[in-house]
Amino acid sequence: MSKEPQKPDASADDPVTVLERPTRRSFLTRVGAAGVAIGTGQLHSVALADTETSQEAPAAATASTDSATTHVRLNVNGSDYELDIDPRTTLLDCVREHLHLTGTKKGCDHGQCGACTVHVDGRRVNSCLSLAVTHEGEAVTTIEGIGKPGALHPMQAAFVEHDGFQCGYCTSGQIMSAVALLHEPYGHNDDDVKEAMSGNICRCGAYSNIVAAIQQVRRKV
């Protein structure tokens, strides 16, 4: 009996089943979605994002009667998205919670740690200190937009090669900063890299390996 497969409808309220081997990602997604729904009452936006927002945004988006939201067209990693979002939504929360691009991380949420670093028109910025609706017409690039498994950006590959992380939470921000740095007017020395990267905090202290990874790529560029 005990080996009988569970009935599908038995799982919903069974905490054991719900918590059974949750992946880190599925757990965070559930918690995140609930947080958004409760926190801002934005069920509409969540649903919109869940339907894989695209150029053909659902008619419901533009026909929204929710006066608390603002309509915005965003270009992220080369794709256009149409969204109705609370104007308070930061670019960080927008890419994570509405576009489900969760590679960009929320650390301090006050522009002090750099975990949320993305590129806007090729320049690195703290996405936590920027409102998503102000970026219409600009090109946003997140960590998902610079490389992918099997086709890593040289900077991503260098971070792997040099062990430029431990827990990995700051890593996407570090890499986005490092990629932007390649085109910025900094000197050639390690000290120049440290200065240029001072807006990205690594709580694990992988700094020396991060500098080594960046310098390897800079020498090749």
Partner: protein, 335 residues
């Protein structure tokens, strides 16, 4: 964060028009804010220190240029990014102190966002100002100053009052002060040009009022006078970390030495004043004198003579003096 109406505008006229209600007598803490880089404003909105009901997005107004003026100076647009200003060839070659100050502030990401106008209006980092549950005369007039008997290690020793000891945190403003910048603003009542010395206010008994900018007025650009030919300038910033930290003490020095005597000198201090701190007392000790260690020390003593220290920030007096001396040494040493 409180809710607000976000307005997007195409030009300065629209921005000023939308800000009209603020100009028409809403009290300070007024409900309209211009949003450019957002690095101060959004930070404080998340903390509920800033609670505007209307936010006007000006970050793409065409005010992002540096241009030469007829008199040999430069005009700097209000929405010019700190990074772009710091790396602009005209600024690097003729106003090195400004470039150095900008690059010593914040992080590369923040400098890519922060603008000239926003940096001028940067708010203090006093922990009590940023924490809405504690008394703060700047945030809520009349509630008292928590810093005077509290955590004040990083706060001001010059220009303080019994109501507020908050430091102006900007590096750019210190360099702009030494360069004698003029701030150009526009509002429903027209345009005004404000010398930077007349722009920042002492806290006195109205610490909530930090500048002479009126509600609804927009900073459009800043002008710098022509550089004194043959001058050398230095921004020296002393802080707890090597990078990405506010100044405990900083000095912007613009100096020219002719025939062994100082014949032009401007000194402004950061990290120690309630506003970017021009020290005419120090300048008076230097003008016409030989640039040597004894003269520099006398200037440093003069600059800090009126210092008023708190329980934790007494160290800043000597730190600021040595900062001035070292900056003067760097700016006058022969290569």
């Amino acid at each position: 964060m409180e809710t607000f109406q976000l307005k997007r505008v195409a030009n300065v006229e629209q921005a000023i028009g939308l800000a009209q209600p603020a100009a028409n007598g809403q009290p300070n803490g007024a409900s309209t804010r211009f949003l450019a880089g957002g690095t101060t404003l959004l930070d404080l909105m998340k903390l509920d220190v800033e609670r505007p009901t209307q936010v006007i997005d000006i970050h793409r107004l065409p005010l992002d240029q540096v241009e030469k003026t007829d008199g040999g100076g430069v005009t700097i647009g209000a929405t010019m990014r700190n990074t772009d200003l710091a790396n602009h060839p005209l600024i690097k070659s003729h106003y090195a102190v400004l470039s150095q100050a900008l690059l010593s502030g914040a992080s590369a990401q923040l400098r890519n966002m922060a603008t000239t106008g926003g940096n001028l209006l940067q708010r203090t980092r006093c922990v009590y100002f940023r924490d809405p549950v504690t008394p703060c005369n700047k945030r809520e007039p009349g509630t008292g100053c928590s810093a005077i008997d509290g955590y004040n290690r990083n706060l001001a020793i010059l220009g303080t009052s019994e109501h507020c000891i908050a430091t102006n945190p900007s590096d750019m403003n210190v360099a702009m002060t030494a360069l004698e910048a003029t701030i150009h603003v526009e509002g429903a009542q027209g345009k005004r040009d404000i010398a930077i010395d007349d722009f920042f206010l002492l806290p006195g008994n109205t610490p909530e009022r930090e500048t002479t900018l009126n509600p609804g007025e927009l900073i459009t650009h800043v002008t710098l006078p022509a550089p004194v030919s043959g001058n050398r300038s230095v921004y020296l910033k002393l802080r707890d970390r090597a990078s990405y930290e506010f100044a405990l003490a900083s000095a912007a020095v613009v100096v020219k030495v002719s025939s062994g005597k100082i014949d032009h000198i401007r000194i402004a201090l950061g990290g120690v004043g309630v506003r970017p701190w021009r020290s005419k007392e120090a300048e008076a000790q230097l003008l016409g004198r030989t640039p040597d260690a004894a003269t520099f020390r006398a200037a440093a003593e003069a600059a800090l003579q009126s210092a008023h220290v708190q329980s934790q920030n007494g160290f800043k007096v000597e730190l600021a003096k040595r900062c001035i001396q070292h900056a003067l040494t760097l700016a006058t040493q022969t290569a």
